[in-house]
């Protein structure tokens, strides 16, 4: 059974159909990219998966749970974590605190324990802090734990966002244009990091990406969207030579213009 499956998902904004009858599957342990021209509906599709938008039609099944109608926090608690296209860190919290917020669904402390500060609470907090420090190191950040997130350089902020998403121990990680704005060296490091996350932690990764070098080097399968519809899917080499994909990106032959 697929880890995540969508059947006929459609999302409309008024007259505009942003996502149209998406049938989509991602298997456990895969790295899959969704690509497509600007406005193809990729991020909208992400937002329907994470519960920010509720699709008008279709089904979404994750690990056997139907997701439609669940709130984003409930979906996150089931094991789907995400990062955002334009980084959305908690700017006035420290890096460690950002990562601790990511653990929200995994911490068991209740209000009474919080007020009494009993042993269970203190232990859980200490463990959480230690794990946050480990995650920082894992994504390649050192000595910034007590910095405010907004004071970090761009590349480091991207890493914090990934650490925060990993903090929830997700089964599926959704990355929305994770290498946007990075220089070639940072991009190469990011690709390495994503592979490690999949290989070492066994986390399935679904990413939206514009940078074709990233897409072709990391993806095991690719899904292509255009005007809200899936127009192709397959292995990277198949996508590279797919006629509809080339048309979507480069435009149709000029024949039609003449006629």
């Amino acid at each position: 059974m697929a880890l995540l499956e969508t059947i006929g998902v459609t999302k409309r904004f008024g007259g505009l159909t942003a996502v149209m009858k998406m049938d989509f599957k991602i298997e456990q342990g895969e790295i899959l990219s969704i690509i497509g021209p600007n406005g193809a509906g990729k991020t909208t599709f992400f937002n329907t998966l994470t519960g920010i938008y509720r699709p008008e039609e279709g089904k979404i099944i994750f690990n056997g749970h139907p997701l439609i109608g669940l709130r984003p926090d409930q979906i996150a608690a089931l094991g789907i974590s995400r990062t955002f296209q334009n980084i959305r860190l908690f700017g006035n919290m420290t890096v460690i605190e950002n990562i601790l917020v990511g653990m929200h669904t995994r911490l068991k402390q209740n209000p009474l324990q919080v007020l009494l500060r009993n042993k269970a609470f203190m232990e859980e907090e200490q463990e959480a802090e230690a794990r946050a420090a480990q995650l920082m190191q894992y994504v390649g950040l050192t000595n910034v734990g007590n910095e405010l997130a907004r004071n970090l350089p761009y590349g480091a902020q991207r890493r914090v966002e990934i650490a925060r998403a990993l903090a929830a121990n997700p089964t599926l990680l959704l990355l929305d244009e994770p290498t946007a704005g990075m220089n070639p060296q940072e991009t190469a490091e990011a690709i390495k990091l994503f592979r490690r996350i999949r290989d070492e932690k066994g986390i399935t990764i679904l990413l939206i990406e514009h940078d074709m070098r990233v897409v072709m080097s990391i993806s095991e399968r690719i899904t292509v969207m255009d005007y809200g519809e899936k127009i192709a899917e397959g292995l990277p080499e198949q996508i590279r030579s797919n006629q509809r994909v080339i048309e979507a990106y480069l435009g149709r032959e000029t024949v039609s213009e003449k006629g």
Partner: protein, 449 residues
């Protein structure tokens, strides 16, 4: 100019090193105590004395010293000085009450970032709760305001005050949740407007619930409200031990003031503890995350509605407890005490002190209360004295006598709030004591997870 700068920095460094911090703080406190003791009517003396607590907070000394000195000043010195001039105790009590309100509002506005302009409503809920059950009001229900017979019994004994102090916490929290449920879908300005409306609804209810059944006694307010009993032995004890220092026999009403001041102080301590612990936990982090970015917070699995309701409930509960204190200490409540200006006043304290900063909002409450009750009142008094004298402003040859009586600084509270807010936004947007994130000792372990 530069040498002056380095000179003052050098001075600051010296004051903050070695035994100097201890000396400075003790000296400040002693000078303050001496001045207030010798001239109990002087505003300036009192300001010098009370600011010694701020000095104590700022100097770099051991925590044990700070706590001991703070407790000594707050629990021993202040009551003695306060009994010599009961107005000081009143100010201290007001500072405590408003510090509690500011701490509660700080949870809602500062931690969770939900702008609540009707916060004083929860204070009113607490106050009216004890006003109703701690007075004769239950038996006044069938009568229109002012027509009830004089010999009605009290519903509950005064000592039930303590029970109601705790009940108010729960009831105010429930009120907070009830208000929160319909409005928490709103963000920012919209939430502010709806909470403002809610605050007014509570005040208007208090004003008008004298008919068809007389529950709140309308604009006249409820009085007398009972206080917890005070055994005569306590008054005697007070007189026997502290009588010589105070210099005049102490009446039971004065001891009540001391009692309420100490109780308010205790509640403040509990509130500070609760606020700090909440802040430094999963709950507080979730609130701050919501304040920073709601969309990202919910994507991290934070249930928005539940956490916002928790913030409303926690903030409201502080105000509820202080409402009961207020009703009992005044023995009187009326809708006037819960006007929109009060909500704005508490918000001013939070902004002045530092949004999200616990020591900040306490300082903010102290500064605003002192400005209101002491500085402005003092100025008014001074001006009226000048008016009665024959003094003339020299150069422009203006006789103080001719100064309009409209010019009364004590009535310029709103102007003061406005000026404070504008100045803070320009010069110190993060407040007098800005909120700081906790710095953690991070044990970096072997890499890998």
């Amino acid at each position: 100019m530069k040498t002056l700068g380095t000179f003052s920095q050098e001075m600051l460094r010296r004051i903050q090193s070695g035994y100097m911090p201890y000396l400075v703080s003790i000296l400040h406190a002693l000078v303050g105590i001496y001045l207030v003791y010798t001239s109990p009517r002087s505003n300036i003396a009192f300001l010098i004395f009370i600011s010694s607590l701020l000095t104590l907070y700022t100097v770099k000394t051991s925590a044990a010293y700070k706590v001991t000195a703070g407790v000594l000043l707050a629990v021993v010195v202040m009551p003695i000085l306060g009994v010599r001039n009961i107005f000081y105790l009143e100010i201290l009590f007001q500072i405590c009450v408003f510090a509690a309100l500011a701490l509660g509002l700080n949870i809602v506005v500062g931690f969770a970032g939900l702008l609540d302009l009707g916060y004083v409503a929860f204070y009113a809920v607490g106050a009216y709760l004890w006003a109703f059950f701690g007075s004769q009001q239950y038996y006044v229900i069938p009568y229109a305001p002012g027509t009830q017979p004089a010999d009605l019994p009290f519903l509950l004994p005064g000592d039930m005050f303590y029970l109601f102090l705790m009940l108010a916490v729960i009831i105010a929290a429930v009120t907070g949740i009830l208000l929160g449920l319909p409005v928490l879908r709103l963000r920012g300005d919209y939430l502010a407007i709806v909470t403002l409306g809610f605050g007014e609804v509570i005040r208007v209810l208090a004003n008008n619930l004298d008919k068809p059944w007389n529950i709140t006694n309308g604009p006249q307010g409820i009085t007398p409200i009972q206080r917890p009993t005070l055994p005569p032995a306590v008054v005697d004890l007070f007189n026997n031990t502290l009588g010589p220092v105070i210099g005049h026999p102490v009446k039971a009403s004065d001891v009540y003031n001391v009692l309420f001041y100490l109780m308010a102080l205790l509640i403040i301590l509990v509130i500070i503890l609760v606020a700090r612990r909440l802040d430094d936990s999963k709950i507080g982090r979730a609130w701050t995350a919501i304040r920073e970015d709601e969309t990202a917070a919910i994507a991290m699995g934070i249930p928005l509605v539940r956490m916002k309701l928790a913030a409303f409930a926690a903030g409201a509960s502080f105000a509820g407890a202080m409402g009961v204190m207020f009703a009992a200490s005044r023995t009187f409540v009326s809708p006037e005490s819960f006007s929109f200006m009060q909500s704005i006043g508490v918000l001013t304290m939070v902004i002045l002190g530092g949004i999200g900063s616990i020591p900040g909002v306490i300082l903010g409450a102290a500064v605003v209360v002192l400005l209101n009750l002491q500085v402005l009142q003092g100025l008014s008094l001074y001006l009226s004295q000048l008016r009665q004298s024959d003094a003339v402003i020299p150069i422009i040859n203006f006789a103080w006598k001719n100064l309009s009586t409209q010019l009364d600084p004590a009535k310029y509270q709103r102007l003061l709030f406005g000026i404070i807010l504008i100045l803070m936004m320009i010069f110190r947007p993060a407040g007098l004591i800005p909120a700081a994130r906790r710095q953690r000792e991070l044990a970096v372990e072997e890499s890998g997870d």
